[in-house]
């Protein structure tokens, strides 16, 4: 069979450079990445890229940095298998392939002028951070900002310094909880759902943005609905295996939507009737 070289393949990767890495926790590693020639990734908060290591494979990874950070972008990757294991071996100066950004991110223009309630559990902080920092960098364009963070133990906490900075700001209100505390922990203990009842909000002008492990959504959404936040103002980012990123390979399909093209961000009213979504 004849093999013809293609110039316009959707599978073409951009040869990118790892500028900086940092081991954040036992299993999570941070990467700062620069596209060729310092080109901008030009993403929306909540979008993802396909990260590639030729010979190992490719995987969808959420962009963690805000588009307001220019010149490079950031990823945080949990080591869960063959590909992410190989990625964890990369250090500053190494090369990595990038395709994207893909998908529909958070609807930032719709969020403008509204109060925001961010709910991030576990690794959910990684994609949500792209929006939180976007909002902080454009702070006067948004209303009241509440951030609820939850994770298993204090050792699993990501972006500690940055979270401390958010905590110190007068224009952001932060609440943290862990499932299991240690003697040094001074914050709340309990599931993230336990933080929601205590929040004061005006439901009609509040958008809740929720990102966390699949099992969490049902419970958090139930609490948010109790607060009378309208369904279309509850935004979630769903985790699926976006293998191709092009709406073709079928792995990320939920009902009739392809998570990689129609999502990963959805408003609750759009997916509540799709049985496989939550």
């Amino acid at each position: 069979m004849e093999q013809i070289e293609l110039k316009d393949s959707e599978y073409e990767i951009k040869k990118s450079k790892v500028l900086r890495t940092k081991q954040m926790t036992e299993t999570e590693k941070y990467f700062e990445i620069e596209l060729p020639g310092g080109e901008s990734l030009d993403h929306e908060p909540g979008q993802f890229v396909e990260v590639s290591l030729l010979g190992v494979g490719e995987a969808p990874i959420s962009v963690s940095s805000s588009p307001t950070k220019r010149g490079s972008f950031e990823l945080v990757v949990r080591n869960t298998g063959k590909f992410t294991g190989a990625l964890h071996k990369l250090e500053a100066g190494d090369e990595v392939g990038i395709r994207g950004p893909f998908g529909k991110g958070f609807p930032v223009r719709i969020l403008e002028g509204n109060d925001l309630l961010f709910v991030a559990a576990g690794l959910g902080l990684v994609p949500l951070r792209s929006l939180i920092n976007y909002v902080i960098d454009n702070r006067r364009d948004f209303g009241k900002v509440d951030i609820l963070l939850g994770c298993k133990t204090p050792q699993n906490m990501l972006f500690n310094d940055e979270v401390d900075d958010w905590n110190k700001r007068l224009d952001v209100k932060l609440n943290c909880t862990v499932d299991q505390a240690d003697p040094d922990w001074k914050g709340n203990v309990g599931l993230i759902t336990s933080l929601i009842p205590g929040i004061t909000l005006e439901p009609e002008r509040t958008f809740a943005v929720v990102v966390g492990p699949p099992v969490m959504y049902k419970f958090v959404i139930a609490e948010l609905l109790k607060k009378e936040i309208p369904e279309r103002q509850i935004l979630v980012s769903l985790e699926r295996h976006m293998k191709c990123g092009l709406g073709k390979c079928g792995h990320c399909q939920i009902g009739n939507v392809y998570c990689c093209q129609d999502g990963p961000v959805f408003s609750y009213d759009k997916i509540k009737d799709i049985k496989e979504a939550l």
Binding site: S9, I13, K15, G57, K248, G250, H251, N256
Partner: protein, 353 residues
């Protein structure tokens, strides 16, 4: 000149002639009433009258293994995207399989376009072949209106007795006819014979499931929680045969294969199946369609509901392959009939023709 004819006795000669100049693939008998599209060099190898082949001709449009890029990491992450393609004539494609190719065309030309598919597709010339009668009891082509040709071919052949009448649909098709001396212009009696045959087919082909085509998407709207899926789930072995043989199943996986030097290699895609256990699994280990019942339902919804919303078209071609190949005897006609009965929307008048 839109129609030509060829004597039946000349068909072998024509195929042999055609295969001299280019790659020709056509249905070949494999024994036990099984057929497969294979490369042929002479007409004698071809079984023009065949039941649907084991694999549909989609294997030439989306190969089971397709290199997307070659790479060389000796100087970094260097890859070269490629397309694998070849000029060929696909000979003897039934109307159900023509419909299957039309479905794939829609999927892969939708943005973001799949350039690999689009380049390959335009190198394939298609010669269709009409079924004058049912292939077997598994087909449901009348239900989805694929028992008669709906385009999607360059040439289309119909058996009208001692000769085949051929509809020339494209310039590419005409080029094949022009090169051969075996064809004659169709006469008025030939065209009459074609009309008569189509009229006769209206009597032979009748809805295989007691429901009208238009009602199917509506029926699936109400079938999500049907007990039928549980029953299929209990039977299903999750082998993925049904999706492999389906002319409109196109899900795939992308895999890297390094060479022994561990520097060069290729990135390729290969057929995957939503029936496989790990198909909807994410990195944390959670699977979003863990139950076989949910996976079977997903397969049916990808034929009868989702594509209707996206492309205004059913993605079941009625070829019957999924039922023919299923080791657990899951039968599409039976499943649909069960759904019809469950909803009490049986339409006994659901038609002929």
């Amino acid at each position: 000149m839109q129609y030509v004819t060829i004597k039946k006795t000349d068909l072998d000669k024509f195929i042999t002639e055609l295969a001299k100049g280019q790659r020709v693939v056509a249905p070949v008998a494999k024994g036990s009433n099984k057929f497969a599209f294979e490369d042929v060099t002479s007409g004698e190898q071809v079984s023009i009258d065949h039941i649907p082949t084991i694999l549909p001709p989609k294997k030439y449009f989306i190969p089971q293994f397709e290199t997307l890029a070659t790479f060389d990491t000796s100087k970094g992450q260097d890859m070269q995207p490629v397309v694998e393609c070849e000029e060929m004539v696909l000979f003897g494609v039934h109307t159900c399989d023509l419909a299957g190719i039309q479905c794939l065309n829609m999927v892969f030309s939708e943005r973001p376009k799949d350039i690999n598919y689009l380049i390959r597709k335009n190198k394939i010339t298609i010669v269709g072949y009409e079924c004058n009668d049912y292939c077997d009891e598994f087909a449901s082509c009348r239900l989805v209106h694929n028992h008669t040709p709906n385009g999607g071919y360059d040439l289309f052949m119909t058996d009208i007795g001692d000769k085949y009448i051929i509809h020339i649909n494209t310039q590419a098709g005409d080029a094949i006819i022009e090169k051969s001396k075996l064809f004659a212009e169709a006469t008025p009696p030939d065209l009459k014979a074609l009309d008569a045959l189509r009229e006769e087919k209206r009597k032979i082909f009748a809805n295989e499931v007691p429901v009208v085509h238009e009602k199917i998407p509506e029926m699936f709207d109400k079938s999500y929680n049907s007990k039928v899926w549980e029953q299929l789930g209990e039977k299903c072995l999750a082998c993925g045969n049904c999706t492999n043989v389906c002319p409109t199943c196109y899900c795939f996986d992308v895999v890297d294969e390094p060479n022994l030097d561990l520097k060069t290699g290729k990135r390729y895609r290969r057929w995957d199946s939503c029936q496989n256990e790990g198909f909807a699994k994410v990195a944390g280990g959670e699977s979003f369609r863990e139950e076989r019942a949910a996976r079977q339902r997903h397969r049916y919804y990808r034929k009868f509901k989702y594509p209707m919303e996206k492309f205004s078209r059913l993605f079941c071609t009625g070829c019957g392959r999924c039922s023919r190949t299923c080791m657990a005897e899951i039968n599409l006609k039976e499943t649909l009939t069960q759904l019809v009965e469950e909803q009490d929307i049986k339409d006994t008048k659901a038609g002929r023709g």
